[in-house]
Each structure stands twice: as structure tokens, then as C-alpha cells.
């Protein structure tokens, strides 16, 4: 869509886009191109000489079992987080859509974990699962289950998944509720007259009509689990124990910023860029059209 009526000015439009373009070029495009460049270079630890090594960094990266481990961890983490956050939010949204009395209160109370920073959400759950004084850890212990996420990788993963999903429920809830409220009531009434009970109505009418919202939310949740959960991982587990919760973004940070492996970190950045690119393309090309019904 374009405007028919526009202003004519030789220099003003350039002046108006300058701040944004400058910042984008300096802090986004230039560093990204540097990451691309470094991913095909090998630099010695003192930065004295660099050598062009084609795709050696990538070959090294993908022949490293640790990297595959991180990929697997990321896949498990993002699948579990998205599934948990989406299913709970859908359940609550369907219920909230039915509620007449108290709907405003429910909605307001469910919204606000969105405002809690991922790292803070992680700290809240860390406290509840703290082996010596956390309410949930001690409850589990009294039931005979020994909880210690500091030593057990599987439990650490459960902890970060719960914290990450908890924070994301509010967001999913809002979008599901908006999607539910767009479904014409006449469809549901017609089904009810035909004798479909609530559960049947949900699976045959409401859920299929929600597919566009669900697809959109799946993409958003995967992006969230990949990139925005860095704070949770860093604050709660530091990728441990024994890399059990080391996701891709955390590994880039650790290898590049702490390990100072320029080429390897840059190659990982490039892999991440490809992932973001793919997700963005899916979001814009594929979902945009499906959202209309």
C-alpha cells in the first residue's frame, strides 16, 4: 500500500531516516557482517595473524559432539517450554472465554507475569526449588523424591523449562483469548443445537478455527525459547550441571565472551542468524496469510 498524497522535499526524508539507519548500520549490520567475516577466518590467540580458512570453522563446529549436544538441549528446551506455555495458556483462555463473572479480575491477574524479566522469573523458581529451603524441593523430599537440580541435569532442565514457560503463559493467554473472541458465536450455538457437547465443540470447531493463532504463537514461543531465555539460563543454572541446560545462545556467549574463541563463536552466531532468518521468513511469508479468516 502506498500513499497517493506525498510531500516533496529534496533533503528532509534523508534527514529523517538518518538516525535509525545510522544506528542500524553501526550496531546491527556492521557487527553482523563482522561475524560473517570472522566465521571464515582463523585468528591466533594474540590477534597477530589471521588466515582465511573457508568453512573450516563450520566443519569443526558440526563435527563437535558438544555442539550437537547443545543443539539437542536447545531442541528439548524449546519444545518443552513452548508446549507447556501454550497448552496451559490455551486451557486458561478457553476457560476465561466462558467466564462471565470475575473475567476482568482473572485477566488482570494472569497478565502481569509478562512484566517479570526472564532472569527474575528464573530466580523466583530457583528459590522454590532450592534444595535446602525451597518449598517445592522440600515438599518433594517429604514425598520421598530427592530434588537437587544443582547435581542432576534432568531436574535442572525441568526447573528452567518451568520458569521459562511460567513467564510466557501471560503472552499466549492474551493472544488465545483474542483469537477465541473472534470466533463467531453463531457457529458455536449451531453446534450446540446439533447436540455437540463442550468438549466436542472445542475439538471440532474452536480448535481448528484457532489454528492461525496457534501457529503464530508456536513461532513466537520458539523464538522466545531460543533467544529471550538467556537470562533464565545464565541466572539459574549457568548452563550446568555438566552442560545439561546449555542452550545455543548461552554457548555463543560462553565460547565467545568468556572462552574468546573468535572463529568458533562467530560460526555459531552465523548458525543462529540462519535460524532467526528461517523463523522470520516463516512468520512473515507463511503465517501472515493464514491469520486471515
Amino acid at each position: 500500500m502506498e500513499k497517493r498524497v506525498v510531500f516533496r522535499n529534496r533533503w528532509l526524508p534523508y534527514l529523517l531516516v538518518t538516525p535509525q539507519i545510522t544506528i542500524t548500520l553501526v550496531f546491527f549490520i556492521w557487527p553482523a557482517s563482522q561475524a560473517l567475516r570472522q566465521s571464515v577466518l582463523l585468528e591466533d590467540p594474540f590477534g597477530l595473524s589471521t588466515k582465511f580458512v573457508w568453512f573450516d570453522n563450520f566443519i569443526e563446529l558440526f563435527s563437535d559432539p558438544l555442539y550437537w549436544g547443545t543443539l539437542k538441549t536447545t531442541a528439548i528446551f524449546s519444545t518443552c517450554t513452548s508446549f507447556l506455555a501454550l497448552s496451559l495458556a490455551l486451557l486458561l483462555a478457553v476457560m476465561a472465554d466462558r467466564v462471565i463473572k470475575g473475567a476482568v479480575v482473572y485477566k488482570a491477574a494472569l497478565l502481569w507475569p509478562y512484566a517479570v524479566a526472564p532472569a527474575v522469573a528464573g530466580v523466583l523458581w530457583l528459590f522454590m526449588f532450592s534444595p535446602t529451603n525451597g518449598i517445592l524441593a522440600l515438599t518433594l523430599k517429604s514425598l520421598g523424591y530427592n530434588w537437587n537440580h544443582v547435581l542432576k541435569g534432568g531436574q535442572a532442565m525441568v526447573l528452567v523449562v518451568i520458569a521459562a514457560a511460567w513467564k510466557q503463559i501471560a503472552y499466549n493467554f492474551l493472544f488465545f483469548l483474542a483469537g477465541l473472541q473472534m470466533i463467531p458465536k453463531s457457529l458455536i450455538e449451531a453446534a450446540a443445537i446439533d447436540g455437540a457437547r463442550p468438549a466436542k465443540r472445542f475439538w471440532t470447531i474452536i480448535f481448528p478455527l484457532l489454528t492461525p493463532t496457534t501457529f503464530f504463537l508456536i513461532v513466537v514461543n520458539v523464538v522466545y525459547a531460543f533467544f529471550d531465555t538467556f537470562g533464565i539460563i545464565h541466572a539459574v543454572t549457568q548452563g550446568g550441571p555438566y552442560k545439561a541446560t546449555e542452550i545455543l545462545v548461552y554457548k555463543v556467549y560462553k565460547d565467545g565472551f568468556i572462552g574468546l574463541d573468535l572463529g568458533g563463536s562467530a560460526a555459531q552466531s552465523v548458525v543462529l542468524m540462519v535460524i532467526v532468518l528461517a523463523l522470520t521468513v516463516i512468520q512473515f511469508r507463511y503465517l501472515e496469510r493464514r491469520v486471515q479468516y
Partner: protein, 281 residues
């Protein structure tokens, strides 16, 4: 509701209340812990409020946690506030003017600029950690408020939101303004800006939360303790030996870290929902 099923209605409320309990429980537990003395939360679980509320909060606000550096949490909150405010003002101003240029002018490289802005969407900080750090370092912006905010204010989503909105503004307004002799700058300030008020308010809410909750970026570029923001300051409080861990103060800091964004969301709920749903489109 299409039919009356009393049993189902009760079930609905039960599920909602359980959902609320799951959502609110961690915060209740944290708040309760923050009102006790350190030794009372060291190895036992507290279910009800203690008497140290004012004491704990004034201590951490004024002098921080002694075992972990002791930067006053009040100062951390100030840093977070400056950062969030800088991001809100910066993002909104640069994206509204660039959206204005792209919608209301025809100029060479217009689409090229549009695509550059679009690219920011695909390059979150997380994928370009080291090189961005080097740029900021070579500009001498480490440990400065400028360094904390400036690299984060380029935003495709805000620009797109304003672009979408400007496209819905009727052309007749522009024509009328031109007939009356208003130039592009006058038109922007007298017509477009007042019309964008609700969009700006919605964005303010979303961006304030975004700015306040930043974690990775401050972690990278602040090394001096007095530049710590509260969200990353909490992390430093966690790694101390178990027997001297003052969970009460850590939890008080967690409560303070979530207070401003939560207040903003609850106070401006309508703008928040609007902002959230529209920036994602």
C-alpha cells in the same frame, strides 16, 4: 455462553483459580521470604509474613547486600530506570520519524532503507554478541548510559507499527494541510503526532518493560559495579556459599525488580494489550 451447565461453570472457575494460583504462587512465596530474617529462611520454608519487611527493604535499597558487593539496590533501580527511559524515548523518536519519511515521501533508496530497517528484526543481540561488543568498546561507550541504550533503540517493530498506522491516516488530511499551506514538518507536529497519541502510549508500555528487563546487553557492556541494572544485579546475589545466603534480601530485590514493570502493566492495562497485539502484527 451458549447453554447453562452449572457443573461446567463451577469447573471453569476451579480451573481459573488453579491457574491463578500457579501464576501467583512464586510471587507470594518470594514476598513472604522477603519479610523474614535471613536465618529464618535459610533452612525452613515460611508460609506467612514475618516482621522484617521495612527493615529488609530499607537495607537493600540503601546499602545493598553486603555479601555480594553491596551496591545499593536503589542505585541499580535508578540505572534500570534510566536505561528503560532512554530506550522508550529513543526508540519511539527515531522510529516515528523514519516511518514518516518512508510513508510520506518519495525518495531515492526509499525501499533500500526500508529493508535495512527490516533486517534489524533478524539480528537480535544474541546472534552478534562479540562484534557488537567490539563496536561499543571502540566507540568508548562501555559502562555508560549511552552504551546501554543507543545500540538497542533501532527497532523494526516500532517503525512498522507507525508505518501501518500512517497508512490508515486519510489522504484528505494531508491534502487539507497542504492547501492550508502547512509544510511537512508542520503537518507532522500538528496533525500526525496528535493522531499517533494512542499508539505512542501503547508502545511506551511495551518498550518500558522491554528496556527494564534487558539482561544480556547490560551483562556484556557494564563491568563497573555502579552501572549494574537491577535485573542483572540479582544474578550476582545468587552465587554465594549456602550458609551465608541471605535469601530474604535476594527475594526483596526480586520483588523490587519486578515492581515497576508490573505497576506499569496493571496501571496501563488497556494500552499494554493494544501495544502487545499491534506490535506483533
Amino acid at each position: 455462553m451458549v447453554e447453562n451447565r452449572p457443573f461446567f461453570t463451577v469447573l471453569t472457575h476451579i480451573v481459573m483459580i488453579l491457574g491463578l494460583a500457579i501464576v501467583l504462587f512464586p510471587i507470594y512465596i518470594a514476598f513472604v521470604a522477603s519479610t523474614h530474617e535471613a536465618r529464618d529462611v535459610l533452612s525452613t520454608v515460611q508460609g506467612w509474613f514475618g516482621g522484617n519487611l521495612i527493615d529488609n527493604y530499607t537495607t537493600i535499597l540503601k546499602s545493598g547486600k553486603a555479601t555480594t558487593g553491596g551496591i545499593p539496590v536503589g542505585h541499580m533501580m535508578w540505572n534500570s530506570f534510566i536505561m528503560a527511559l532512554g530506550i522508550v524515548v529513543g526508540k519511539i523518536s527515531i522510529s516515528i520519524i523514519s516511518a514518516y519519511a518512508i510513508v510520506y515521501f518519495r525518495f531515492r533508496f526509499r525501499m533500500f532503507f526500508f529493508w535495512i530497517i527490516f533486517m534489524t528484526l533478524m539480528l537480535p543481540v544474541e546472534v552478534r554478541i562479540l562484534p557488537t561488543y567490539h563496536v561499543v568498546a571502540s566507540l568508548g561507550l562501555l559502562n555508560t548510559y549511552t552504551g546501554l541504550t543507543l545500540p538497542l533503540i533501532a527497532s523494526a517493530t516500532a517503525t512498522f507499527l507507525f508505518r501501518q498506522f500512517f497508512l490508515t491516516v486519510p489522504d484528505e488530511l494531508t491534502e487539507a494541510a497542504r492547501v492550508d499551506g502547512a509544510g511537512p514538518i508542520r503537518f507532522f507536529f500538528d496533525v500526525l503526532l496528535p493522531l499517533s497519541r494512542t499508539n505512542i502510549a501503547a508502545l511506551c508500555v511495551i518498550l518500558f518493560i522491554y528496556g527494564w528487563n534487558q539482561y544480556l546487553w547490560p551483562l556484556l557492556i557494564t563491568t563497573e559495579k555502579d552501572m549494574t541494572t537491577i535485573v542483572m544485579g540479582i544474578q550476582a546475589m545468587l552465587y554465594v556459599p549456602d550458609d551465608i545466603n541471605e535469601w530474604n534480601k535476594t527475594m526483596a530485590t526480586a520483588i523490587l525488580a519486578m515492581l515497576p514493570p508490573v505497576v506499569v502493566i496493571l496501571a496501563l492495562q488497556r494500552q499494554f494489550v493494544k501495544g502487545l497485539i499491534e506490535t506483533e502484527k
